[in-house]
Amino acid sequence: MAAYIIRRVVWTVPVVLLVIFMTFTLMKQIEGNPFRKTERAVPAAVQANLERKFNLNKPWYVQYAQYVKGVATGDLGPSLVLRDRTVNDIVEEQFPRSIELGLLAFGWAVLLGVPAGVLAAMRPNSRFDYGSMLFSNVGFALPNFLVATLLIYFVSVKWGMLPTSGWTTWQHKILPSFTLGLVPMAYFARLVRGTMLETLQQDYVRTAKAKGLRRRRVLTVHVLRNSLIPVVTAAAPLLGYIITGSFIVENIFAVPGIGRYYVTAVSARDYSVVMGLTVLLSIIVIAANLVVDILYGILDPRTREART
């Protein structure tokens, strides 16, 4: 197992280099002047000064090399748009908030979605089952900006129960994380219900019952544990949703994270921010996949041989 992990970690480096290269190339392909923010034309002198300052007047391979060197030493460069800050500043200050938002959303998904799925599987075709699956479908179907606006309108403005936006106290964090967690929640509920129903049919569950084990033990040790394996594997792609969905949620709830900033940076042609965040996110996705693979190996012994 240790060798497996090391190998995976080592592979991260070429993957990240490839990501940098692709992002770099793509950003250069999109035309657009990062220094022209409004309709005002930028005088030639000012444009020249800006390009010189940010090394954009050098040939592309020099820029690329400088950038890679920067990444290797942990310096992601200055922001072209936020003149007082570097990409490192932005990441250090704002990235943890996005992570927090993502983790909380995931937490909602697990705390509400998994038990809903479990209970629905235990009472198939009951009102609870139909009700929770209906809720799950609605959760998938509703776009999260709609959910966000509705929640703010009812919960914050009309009933005054929670703040409309921001990210300071724990009350602020409830609505945005819930909104972001809604689709994963719906997904988990469905998935867990499905896997549990399947597991409940398995012969070994019948064996467990035939052994006279208490119902609770049968459920937790034999049924749940095996049902949750697919949930673990689903966690990695869900991370992708959480990262991309957070742009909208952060925007609407005024959460000072990097999700919103990522998209704004592309429009603004803030090359260094886009590159820096892409590198960061790709590392995260790779790490998440690795964690899932390891967890999977722990949970399902049948797959362990493959991981040596």
């Binding site: 052994k211 208490r214 394996i229």
Partner: protein
């Protein structure tokens, strides 16, 4: 007499959208302490459902024991609560299932799966349970028992897995062991070993056993008494040697005739005798004799198509449910 298990007029029906499947429709038998009852019949005749009904392991929608009584050591099982049943299962009555490949939880070590039943019913502490588990593995013939406790089911072959399942079943010294087609999924060579193992264990631990199978040969080997099931009912029940020597029910005769007979000269040239027709649909079984459609002796003008035959005791310990038992047939033609 020492009747450990008495089943009386057991009816287990499945309530499905297509209709009510009367899988077990009036079954009576008993098992004596320390004896083996073999239940034979073709697929779909209700033998597994009978076994699962005893342990109440059928999913209760859609199945339900609609009537009948199952008395284990004088105690009525059909009215027990789930919690009370949990105390009986694995402790007093244990079951070995047909498919060893799926009967064990693939994500737990076999040690865990044995120990959990020991701790549940016998309250053993971890170390004692582990020692006992190793002893059990040893007893069922698994080499290097102690090391193999930490292995996972997928690291065992089919035959080995079935031994593990048996070890789990006998772990708490149950008084009745129900084995539902325990060898059907195994190679022929392994089959004999497992049957021998079951037999040895039964004698060692003084267990009664119900051995369910569609294989007449297995029954001939291992059973003391035999019950033949057809279309949800018992059609003949007798001690094993009696059944094989003097079968009464046309169905039993047909089953025995269908066995390939390797001693006969010209055996190769004779076709296997199959029983024409198919078993009746259990959603709407015939009101009269269920075997009548395939029976060579059912004729016009007899009761076969009009009334269901009752299970009657033709000789001591030999009961038959037919209007045309073999012994009465001879009398007629003679």
């Amino acid at each position: 007499m020492g009747r450990l298990l008495e089943v009386e007029d057991l009816r287990t029906h499945f309530f499905t959208r297509a209709g009510v499947v009367r899988a077990v429709d009036g079954v009576d038998f008993s098992v004596e302490k320390g004896k083996t009852l073999g239940i034979v019949g073709e697929s779909g005749c209700g033998k597994s459902v009978t076994a699962l009904s005893i342990m109440r392991l059928l999913p209760t929608p859609p199945a339900r024991i609609v009537s009948g009584s199952i008395r284990f050591d004088g105690r009525e099982l059909t009215t027990l609560s789930e919690r009370e049943l949990e105390d009986v299962r694995g402790r007093e009555v244990a079951m070995v299932f047909q498919d060893p490949m799926t009967a064990l939880n693939p994500t737990l070590t076999i040690g865990t799966q044995i120990i959990e039943v020991l701790r549940r019913h016998l309250g053993l502490d971890d170390r004692t349970a582990r020692r006992r588990a190793a002893e059990l593995l040893d007893e069922v013939g698994i080499p290097r028992a102690r090391e193999r406790l930490d292995d996972y089911p997928h690291q065992f072959s089919g035959g080995m897995r079935q031994r593990v399942v048996i070890a789990i079943a006998i772990a708490c010294e149950p008084r009745l062991l129900i084995a539902d087609e325990p060898t059907t999924a195994l190679d022929v060579t392994v089959q004999a070993q497992v049957l021998d193992l079951l037999d040895d264990l039964r004698r060692e631990h003084e267990m009664a056993m119900i051995l369910i199978t569609h294989n007449m040969g297995v029954v001939a080997e291992s059973a003391d008494d035999v019950a033949v099931m057809y279309a949800g009912q018992i059609v003949e029940q007798a001690p094993a040697h009696e059944l094989f020597r003097r079968p009464e029910h046309p169905y039993t005769e047909a089953l025995l005739a269908a066995l390939p007979d390797l001693d006969d000269n010209g055996a190769r040239s004779r076709r296997l005798a199959a029983i024409p027709g198919r078993p009746p649909d259990l959603i709407d079984p015939p009101q009269a004799c269920r075997f009548a459609a395939r029976c060579p002796y059912a004729g016009c003008g007899d009761s076969c198509a009009l009334e269901p035959p009752a299970l009657r005791e033709l000789r001591p310990d030999h009961r038959v449910r037919t209007a045309h038992p073999a012994s009465e047939r001879e009398a007629v033609t003679a």
